[in-house]
């Protein structure tokens, strides 16, 4: 027996845009005539276009998914990421048999439980206990199974006191906790999870992610996880699949996949730092911004590089009391290091009206982890105002530092900065 748990083969799904019901009867008749009587190809299958929601296409039909080919091994935890409308949910819907694919085949081994929503089938009038049974049964558990796990479910959800109260009296958070708790105690071979962790308080999110980790690591189950929370994807998954306009854009290690996705979405093409300014005071006119000696939005720090220069040139029609704010972030947006000197020393620059030039000679830590980083650059008066803001204005490639036969730090295992000992 091979160890592949799920196999997608040329899977595609065609959707009809616009309002269903107008013209569908004639399309249905036409399709039936063409395929069943004339034995021709389905006229509507050919004209579908790729799924790019921002551009208007010529066809009423769109491929929400097209040519999806990949395999998931048993026990693997795969994160599926992509922009809104890239086809993530459609993929999960196909897998959970809510709707059928238009082309291709999906093969799977074992019971699939899908969590596309928490608390499916909850009835407002029924009590928490009754709803646990209802929801569990919908997910495919037997009554005996639920009775056995009831205590654990109630305990996990933390709603014991409200167990015999109708769900309509619950707070929305409690409903979600109850729903997730039922799902957490399903024991399927394959678990399909859509963005359900975005709800509940911080304590519960932690609990939920922990439970999913147990399920995948401890119990060796296969998990497909869709989320926009990159930190959750990174911590849960080993492998990442990036979907773009209904097709597969990337398949590989989860860190590479997340980096690919974030790069693709925030810094689409090579440009200039100065073009990424999102907000600016009208009296401020910027001529040039150089970071690390280049105006381009992509640069590299070499090993042993000690300083990074930031140069901002322009003119202002109003005097400014300001300083440069420079933040280095991980690709998922977590800040790693910042230059905000005014905030910790209280000293700000005084720029009079007219032409100005700001040069910051930033000392870099010696031991940096190699990898790609994002940079935010701002000119601000701390806690008062921003003169300009450029979030994600630069991709910084850090080559890391290593001596002779040593190895540079790895960001995810060892952190951004290497400490030194005396």
């Amino acid at each position: 027996m091979s160890d592949i748990a799920i196999q997608f083969e040329n899977v595609g799904k065609l959707y009809h845009l616009g309002s269903v019901g107008t013209g569908t009867l004639s399309h249905d008749l036409n399709r039936w005539w063409q395929t069943k009587i004339l034995r021709k190809e389905d006229p509507y299958l050919r004209i579908g276009e790729t799924n790019d929601r921002a551009h208007r296409g010529n066809s009423d039909f769109v491929w929400a998914l097209r040519d999806i080919n990949f395999e998931v091994k048993q026990g693997e935890v795969v994160g599926i990421i992509g922009k809104n409308g890239a086809g993530k949910s459609t993929l999960l819907k196909l897998l959970s048999r809510v709707t059928a694919p238009t082309t291709g085949v999906i093969r799977a081994k074992g019971r699939i439980a899908s969590l596309l929503e928490v608390g499916t089938g909850f009835h407002q009038e029924m009590t928490g206990r009754e709803n646990i049974y209802m929801n569990g049964a919908i997910m495919g558990m037997t009554r005996a199974e639920i009775s056995r796990k009831l205590d654990a479910i109630v305990d996990f959800a933390g709603v014991e006191r409200y167990l015999d109260t109708p769900v309509k009296r619950y707070s929305s958070g409690m409903t979600v906790r109850l729903g997730f708790a039922v799902a957490a105690f399903l024991e399927p071979e394959i678990l399909v999870v859509d963005e359900v962790l975005a709800v509940g308080d911080a304590e519960f999110q932690k609990k939920a992610i922990g439970k999913m980790q147990d399920v995948s690591r401890g119990e060796g189950r296969t998990v497909l996880f869709v989320s926009h929370n990159m930190a959750a994807v990174r911590s849960l998954c080993q492998r990442g699949v990036v979907l773009e306009d209904g097709g597969m854009a990337f398949d590989g290690g989860v860190n590479e996949a997340v980096d690919y996705y974030i790069n693709g979405s925030s810094l689409a093409e090579d440009g200039l730092i100065i073009d990424s300014i999102q907000k600016k005071k009208s009296y401020l006119d910027l001529k040039e911004i150089l970071i690390n000696g280049t105006p381009a939005n992509r640069t590299s720090l070499k090993p042993r590089q000690e300083f990074l220069d930031i140069v901002i040139r322009g003119t202002t029609q109003e005097a400014m009391k300001c300083e440069v704010k420079f933040i280095i972030k991980k690709m998922d947006g977590t800040p790693m290091a910042a230059l905000i000197e005014g905030q910790y020393t209280g000293k700000l620059l005084d720029l009079p009206t007219g032409t100005f030039e700001i040069i910051k000679h930033v000392r870099l830590p010696k031991y940096l982890a190699d990898g790609e980083y994002l940079v935010d650059l701002m000119l601000h008066q701390p806690y008062i105002q921003n003169f300009f803001v450029a979030i994600n204005c630069l991709t910084l490639n850090i080559n890391g530092f290593c001596d002779a036969f040593a190895h540079p730090l790895r960001l995810n295992e060892e952190g951004f900065i290497g400490l030194c000992s005396e």
């Binding site: 048999r97 809510v98 709707t99 059928a100 799977a108 596309l116 499916t120 049964a137 919908i138």
Partner: protein
């Protein structure tokens, strides 16, 4: 690596793929749906399950007044309350079951859109919870019946009464198959929904509920006999009220009609089930 897949998801499947095995596996879900229907029916009411009885009693009184009193429609010698109650009881079972299965897709779209389970569980649960309702009403009917006998009214009990379970089964599957066809079509074309409510009301008058079949003659009678529900109602009244007729031919016709419709409805349901989320 060809055969050890336990699940294969493909665009098309066979015309009739009932998958009774997985239906059986989800029997607990069927039970939960039945329970939900019953429990939520009387949540936050004072009289609770008594409402199952109050409805038919009020309807019976109304019919006695309108059809028996004002319109003077014959009940073929049977006491009016029993005559109307028997008709209302069976008709309610049919129409409630029909409504339950004709709304399967539209009422459960949110659940069907999130989880897979054999969709047939839901209409079957609808039949069952309505059956429980019918049984409660049957108790009422029997009490009234006994009351009349004690009062000395002559009411025959004929062996045809043994057909009762079969009659209920026939009604149930008529309701199921018609309902499934309607639900499959309305999931895409909503127009039908408006016709159905009206059609059902009309259909009630085309069934011998408030009048005996014997009251109709000529072409009207032929038309009524074409209604596959007619022999069911007539057979029940024949069995315990002494009016009505027992027509074996009619029951056979009704059964064959039901089987054909059931077959068609399952094929249609099967097709729609696969993709209805995209069109609902």
């Amino acid at each position: 690596m060809t055969d050890d897949w336990t699940l294969v998801i493909k665009p098309k499947k066979r015309l009739l793929d009932l998958d009774l095995k997985s239906l059986w596996r989800y029997r607990d879900l069927w039970y939960m749906y039945v329970r939900r229907d019953i429990v939520t029916f009387y949540k936050q009411t004072i009289l609770g399950p008594l409402w199952f009885l109050i409805q038919p009693v009020l309807t019976t009184i109304m019919y006695m007044f309108v059809f028996g009193g004002l319109a003077k429609i014959s009940t073929d010698g049977a006491p009016q309350p029993l005559f109307y109650l028997s008709g209302i009881m069976l008709w309610n079972y049919f129409s409630d079951s029909f409504n339950a299965s004709s709304n399967v897709f539209t009422n459960n779209a949110s659940v069907f859109g999130k989880v897979y389970f054999p969709r047939l569980v839901v209409p079957l649960a609808g039949l069952t919870s309505n059956l429980l309702k019918l049984l409660i009403q049957l108790v009422l009917f029997i009490l009234v019946y006994i009351g009349y006998r004690i009062a000395g009214v002559q009411l025959p009990i004929r062996p045809a009464l043994l057909l009762f379970p079969f009659l209920v089964l026939l009604l149930a599957f008529h309701a199921l198959s018609w309902g499934l066809i309607i639900s499959s079509v309305t999931s895409k074309y909503r127009d039908l929904k408006f016709l159905v409510a009206f059609g059902l009301q009309l259909f009630m008058y085309a069934t011998p509920i408030i009048y005996p079949l014997s009251a109709a003659t000529g072409r009207i009678r032929t038309a009524l006999e074409l209604n596959p529900l007619t022999p069911i109602f007539e057979a029940f009244k024949y069995g315990c009220l002494g009016c009505g007729t027992l027509s074996w031919g009619g029951l056979l016709y009704s059964t064959v009609f039901m089987l054909v419709m059931l077959f068609i409805s399952l094929i249609v349901f099967n097709r729609v089930e696969r993709n209805f989320m995209d069109t609902v």
